[in-house]
Symmetry: C2
Subunit: 496 residues, 2 copies
Amino acid sequence: MSYNELQNHMQRIADVNYAAATLGWDQETYMPPGAAGFKASQLSTLSGITHQLFTGDKTEALLSSLKNSVGLSEAEKKNVAQIEEDFNRQKKYSTEFVENMSRAVSDAFNAWQQARKESNFKLFAPYLEKLIAIKKQECELLGYQGYPYNALLNLHEKNATVAELDVLFTDVRKELVPFVKKVQQAKQVDNRFFFQHFDRDTQWQFGIELLKQMGFDFNRGRQDISSHPFTTSFSQNDVRVTTRINENDFSEMIWSCIHEGGHALYEQGLPAEQYGMPLGEAISLGIHESQSRLWENNVGRSLAYWKHNFALVQKHFPEQMKNVSALDFYKGTNRVEPSLIRTSSDELTYHFHVMIRYEIEKQIFEDKLKVNDLPDYWNAKYKEYLNIDVPNDAQGVLQDVHWSHGSFGYFPTYSLGSFYAAQFFHQATKEMPNLLTEIENGNTHNLLNWLREKIHKHGKFYTAQELCIKVTSEKLNFAHFMHYAATKYGTIYGLG
Amino acid sequence: MSYNELQNHMQRIADVNYAAATLGWDQETYMPPGAAGFKASQLSTLSGITHQLFTGDKTEALLSSLKNSVGLSEAEKKNVAQIEEDFNRQKKYSTEFVENMSRAVSDAFNAWQQARKESNFKLFAPYLEKLIAIKKQECELLGYQGYPYNALLNLHEKNATVAELDVLFTDVRKELVPFVKKVQQAKQVDNRFFFQHFDRDTQWQFGIELLKQMGFDFNRGRQDISSHPFTTSFSQNDVRVTTRINENDFSEMIWSCIHEGGHALYEQGLPAEQYGMPLGEAISLGIHESQSRLWENNVGRSLAYWKHNFALVQKHFPEQMKNVSALDFYKGTNRVEPSLIRTSSDELTYHFHVMIRYEIEKQIFEDKLKVNDLPDYWNAKYKEYLNIDVPNDAQGVLQDVHWSHGSFGYFPTYSLGSFYAAQFFHQATKEMPNLLTEIENGNTHNLLNWLREKIHKHGKFYTAQELCIKVTSEKLNFAHFMHYAATKYGTIYGLG
């Protein structure tokens, strides 16, 4: 059997997977509320079909005929090897397990929406309990070394382990926590200008302009509104981002837009000729997040960026911005302040939010923490790390969608992403000494090309660890993030 | 094997079919242009999967175990019988044929869009040629009596034949053609007020109000914009309509909105507990169209309707409507005038448009008309029946999407729908003597209930022919339409 046959087979599976992605996108953007039940059933059936197609005899026959075949290119070999790895993992699941999981996720998602609306964790608890039970089964199915939780981490970030993350978060605790304390003792920067009235349509227009400027290709993608911004794709030629607009907080739209735009540029930069194959897919969630964070923080929260774009803000919102300068705006966007909500937190305390979720998840999967105790535990941790009181479940333990999706082991990739981003951006500025000047001129073309060449176009050819070394000549190193943070915030807050 | 197993199996197939419908909807509403290729491949794969699932051994085993089983209810028996009929038809297609067809349709659709944009039939011709060749194969696969075209007619309207349609269109020619001539000799009514500037957002809002008033359930459906209005559903609880808005012609939005609303009420009225089963599906395109036409024409172009709703028009567009009365508005909405475009034609000459397509299709499938001769033939027929010159392909032979979808044998259902609508509405007014008064008061609640009870809730329990007799005590009878037309337009145009 030929490599071509494998490719056709994988493309067929991708067709169904991307169809499911389309339904998922619809679910979060346009679906009328009454449609939820049947939509869940449709998603469950599609997940079962892709699982059957992928784990069936055909894949096995194709792989065994190809894996020792000579004459494959390096890229083809990588694809075959990666498919085999996925195949061996997927074979551990029964189709029934996959469909059950899909249904449990849809139910949990609907329950979570209601629970959050009513700010009542109890409405969500039984569904979460059920999901956790399924995920524990999944850990056993997949197998793991050390912690069961490692099995889940590995689903989102290949080779990630509790041991390594513990080291990383120890660094966070040792270096970032005291640094944030120092920042908090300095004179606070003003960001009140964000909290005026900003017309919805004008914000939307501004967001589209920012996406275009980044290089988002609207011929191969679009933006819509959803209550939780996300990026999804239905092929490399159809990448969808969503944003949300708060008319009383201008910042929400801006950074959700740039963040999702960063994810989308990665998806649009994956090679379309590898549709359905691993080399047409993103490496890992951590690397995906490195792309969104790099644009959101290293670019979108830089002084250079606002030296250029503040004029655009002023054009759209002259009244609101009449007493604000580009420097004020830049400083305001970088106000460090412990807060309740992860997605709107500053880029330093952000990692405390992630740490809390990581600790909770670890303990859930070591059977040390019960679902019913989650709200109290959550609130205690927010007091401990962020020194704030959580007023209700909606702004506390119910704030994130992830657990309702069954996505345990996902949150740590957010911190990994930021740390990779700092390291990649540092490397980019080393290789392109004019980069900041270019950004000041509204030109991110060379940066995007650099990312395309160094990261996007490779798909899954390298692992995250290999890519990091290839691009930056060293392993992931928290020092880059810490250096970036200390320099930037040291200046903003005037810390000697 | 149990009936329940059949139901689960059919629901799974429906899940995939509705997923494909979701992708189809996205294709026509939100899809970025660059995504077309992969979307086509996804749709083709999904169509192949449903075909494999439905024509596989499992369906056969379930059917043969159930079709002679005792203890099934009448409804269950109907479902089994209908599924068997569909199964026997679908078995005639290979999966390869189905996937080829799906791909040819996607390619033809993209070519048609481009051809129409450039008003150049030649760009579409080779794709149309290919599609027609596939459809001719399909006629042979399906088998037919008399004309090959009967096989295609039957796909859209079970039991429809060239013989019967020829009789119907002879009536049209004999009665409607001379009546329209009489109308054309009378003093023309004024509809210039439609062609002012009507703000897009206000039109949108007005359309939503009309849908709500009809009883469209926005909890189980929504409206979006597309270049060609259509209705689709992803379950009985998720019915999507689209409309288009022309800021310089108010009438387009109004009747596309009411028309699609009529289709949608049928879909929303199908029993959700029959999800995936024939009794949860519409009978035929003709009956579907009867629902849209009934709302569009018998309700939406009635004096009673505008006696109520003209005040709403005036509220939204006081400037544009300041010298117009409800009666003027009503008359203007019913201006009879031969025109180029079927979808915006009046409800009388509309049938001449259908007749032309019917004659063309018949001849194509009798090998009497070649693709390359289509534009000239089209233009000659428009001269003959409508006495107008077709200025270009875009407004002529390329105006309709259907052929690019491979939908031959579809157009006649539009006329059938109007004739059924007149007959059903006549029956409704007989059974509910206050109906027109209710409509005058903006109350279509009883009408909707009547349609729900008499038509919607039965799904495919009856054939179109059976339903017509059950509801109106007679077969489809063109006299009802002709009587409706003669009375209404006789009054509007003052024909003695």
